[in-house]
Symmetry: C2
Subunit: 523 residues, 2 copies
């Protein structure tokens, strides 16, 4: 590509009327690579060997993660600079490549608030779901389905529902509504939640019990749809916001549809359908417009054309999408809410700050704090272990080189490290490790590449995240022309969808004193 993506988007935004500009920009990204179905996946043969040929399971079995490009020759990954050992016990004790991520001093993001990475983690946690027991596999529905609050199955949803008026179980703390507590006052999982999948498989236990003060943390630990529903107080805040919207929608639908006779199931299903589309609107019109390198909000959730496009295909989350989304550099070392600064151990697996200060203070505090920058040498210590695991995944599954992925996404091959980054020191560091830039591995190149000062990341990251996001968000069945209508959402639901374009809109409807609460991905 001879012009940068930023310049291309600016040109599209300048020359076309808004609807056309959005369509054209989205199609530019969506068509950057070959559409699904893709011939290969992380499916491997009986001996556990990753297969670099087409097979029926690689075409159909979505319990294995997909992949954009065929596995590299084994000689390629064998020739990569050594990274092991890494024992994960603390800073400094990591491999050479993992060390490229280590933050010494925080590099700040030119324009994002902490709300941006908070939302990004919460959002991607619902569909990028590598299986910890077998990293080739995933536990994803491959859909944007708000499983953070509804769970991955109807069975889980049923455990989280009141079964009355369509609502989700919740608790009131003063005037504030939160998800229900998972534990009773004795620190035991409430009997109504023992069948939640993450309770049954003990995943919640291994997380919370890693803290010495596990018993104290259990007091404000929420029952949610996913095993990581309490991972940070910000994550729990976003779930709380969507839970409040769900229960609010139920009341509104119930009042407006007397012929439903308060049918719990219909109220639940209709509110969930609306809520999922609200999320899609916020993702495209608020979140992705923030990611976009140009200032004007070019992207709109428009369901008028996607079904005509060749990229409108069954979703399948790819390993590359999972890896590229490890935006750990965005995470600050501490988080401040309402004047109180919290260390990781205080904002992880601990919702006390929200219970004490209210949902608004967490969202407002997140919006008024600057995020870090997505780049090398900027990962906080407590996330270095995750970088190590990501590097290992890229090698175990024989991902192709950074330059090969650039070509696949319609970008020029880079000739030298100078094209990758203006940071001479970083370029020299990478060159010393990898030699020719053709040897630079995908995961490292993605995070090394830099855009303009004001951009969040380089062109390959932007192309890949946009391509996978658009081709898997706009394929949501609720957006289909034959589904997106009053029959599905009711007239009221259509209006709520139309009038929602940002997280701030949800805050306006669901947070106490909304005029005092900022909710912005932009710092």
């Amino acid at each position: 590509m001879s012009v940068s993506i930023k310049d291309l988007l600016a040109k599209i935004g300048h020359e076309l009327v808004p609807d056309l500009a959005s369509k054209f920009a989205i199609n530019t990204f969506a068509k950057a690579t070959t559409p699904r179905p893709r011939p290969y996946s992380l499916w491997s043969d009986q001996k556990g060997k990753i297969c670099d040929y087409t097979s029926w399971p690689s075409l159909t079995d979505r319990t294995f993660s997909g992949r954009h490009l065929r596995a590299a020759e084994e000689s390629y990954t064998a020739g990569l600079p050594e990274d092991a050992p890494y024992d994960g016990t603390g800073p400094g004790e990591h491999g050479v490549i993992t060390g490229l991520f280590k933050r010494t001093e925080t590099v700040t993001c030119p324009r994002s608030s902490l709300l941006f990475p908070t939302f990004a983690q919460w959002f991607t946690d619902s569909f990028l779901r590598a299986d910890s027991a077998d990293r080739r596999k995933n536990t994803s529905n491959h859909e944007i389905d708000l499983c953070q609050i509804y769970g991955l199955t109807e069975e889980t949803a049923n455990l989280l529902r009141t079964k009355s008026g369509g609502k989700l179980k919740s608790q009131m703390v003063g005037t504030e509504e939160y998800p229900d507590n998972l534990f009773d006052s004795n620190g035991e999982v409430k009997s109504e939640y023992v069948d939640l999948p993450y309770v049954k498989n003990k995943k919640y236990a291994s997380i919370i019990n890693s803290f010495n003060d596990a018993e104290t943390r259990k007091k404000n630990y929420f029952a949610t749809g996913l095993e990581r529903g309490n991972s940070t107080v910000g994550y729990a805040a976003i779930s709380t916001l969507f839970l409040r919207e769900h229960n609010r929608l139920c009341d509104e639908l119930n009042a407006r549809n007397p012929s439903w006779n308060g049918d719990d199931e219909r109220l639940f299903q209709t509110a969930r359908n609306i809520n999922i589309v609200l999320l899609l609107k916020i993702v495209v019109e608020d979140y992705i417009n923030h990611i976009s390198p140009i200032k004007s909000s070019i992207f709109k959730l428009d369901n008028s054309y996607a079904e005509e496009e060749e990229w409108y295909r069954t979703n399948w989350m790819a390993v590359e999408f999972d890896l590229l989304y490890r935006w750990h550099g965005l995470v600050p070392n501490t988080m401040t809410f309402g004047g109180t600064t919290l260390a990781p151990s205080e904002f992880m697996i601990k919702n006390d700050a929200m219970i004490e200060k209210g949902l608004g203070v967490i969202l407002d505090g997140s919006s008024k704090q600057r995020a870090g920058k997505i780049c090398l040498h900027n990962t906080p210590d407590f996330l270095l272990k995750a970088e190590h695991a990501a590097i290992k995944m890229g090698r175990d599954y024989r991902l192709r080189s950074f330059n090969e992925y650039r070509v696949q996404f319609g970008l020029d091959e880079l000739d030298d490290y100078d094209d990758l980054t203006s940071d001479k020191e970083l370029g020299a560091e990478l060159k010393a490790l990898y030699g020719d830039i053709d040897n630079l591995e995908f995961f490292i190149g993605l995070f090394a590449e830099q855009g303009d000062d004001n951009e969040l990341f380089g062109d390959l990251m932007l192309s890949m995240v946009a391509s996978d996001a658009f081709t898997q968000a706009l394929t949501n069945p609720l957006l289909s022309k034959h589904v997106f209508n009053k029959d599905t959402f009711t007239k009221y639901g259509m209006k709520v969808i139309k009038n929602t374009g940002s997280l701030a809109d949800l805050v306006e409807r669901n947070v106490d004193n909304p005029e005092t609460v900022k909710a912005s991905f932009k710092f």
Copy 2:
């Protein structure tokens, strides 16, 4: 539609060059109804009530069968003529509506051989898989995947594989290759097959043990991919033919690809991929051309345009597709192979005739025997119970009327029974039961409607079967432009695919003395 489908197809075939005619004809059927995703399915609420509103599971959970049209008002099905009771114990003891199907004298098909219903049953058994434990659900992969010989999962495939040279387990009887026996010489399931799903859930046992001479039947009972793999000797014959082709392909691929070093997995996966596409070619170019009401073979398996069409959507087998395919009228009361005439108890769950006479004799005998006609009053006694179950499904799941389905598929509403059938007696019989033709239920109307003398069935059946078939066969991932190539199939595989267009082509390669064996859907 003011012209009949037959006239329309004839016009297309006459005026367009072959490739265009095929594309145009296929698109005419594929576009006759709104494309998937469809808002409704057989998913029902917590109380088991079929939902007539859009829900997330009705849009995504394919373990429930799909449906083309929203559930009818309860008053509609409640007003239908009574059918119960039916105790299934024998002829004559059936409900009024089931009685409409009862054969007194066989009406013969104008142009089909027994090979046609044999193949139809074998073929549809792989994707129309209503769950006997809960008829709302299905056990289908929703793909044409040759699960008849490979099973529905890789776990099943692994039990059926030799793990050497890519081959499926088989046995030789003289020069004839057959699937392996499920039972050992003591009548016990061989230990290597105890984990087959239908062995584990005892489904095979309930079928075979319904015969007094179960122990004798076990001698030639095959281990196959599906629980109904031995349902008739003809069914087992088609599986045998595709099994032979699989193992033949393995030998050819192995000889032609020395660099694979005899890799069992690669040989298996590649042979399977080729074999699935061979089936797709035979389905479109042999089987569907036989179903087509015009004489010339208009339909071709052409993968050049499907991905551009709005009907290219994730497969989802619908309850209507399942019901319309109950072509029991095709089945004769007895079957004759090599001069021996068999009653149902001799051709069902009994492969002895094939073991004694060879695969060729079964295929040849099937091709030289006339099938019955698809119409009311033509179902053999032993299948009346299945008709009763089908009628019950249509009512339990509140399918809409015959005329409503006609409109949905772009056909005119019928005004009277004279439009439905030229058989005055049948028309009067239906009118006495249903009154206004708008009350005629879907399942009955489908089988009552007649085309011209030479046609297999009426226009709604033709439209619906073609629409569901094309939009779920041409979406097979192996036909995708980015998958259908030498990388997937090898150069040899591409050539085999190109040179196969009929079941007779498979016979030519896999049956002893093929020149003596007829293999034709046409009588």
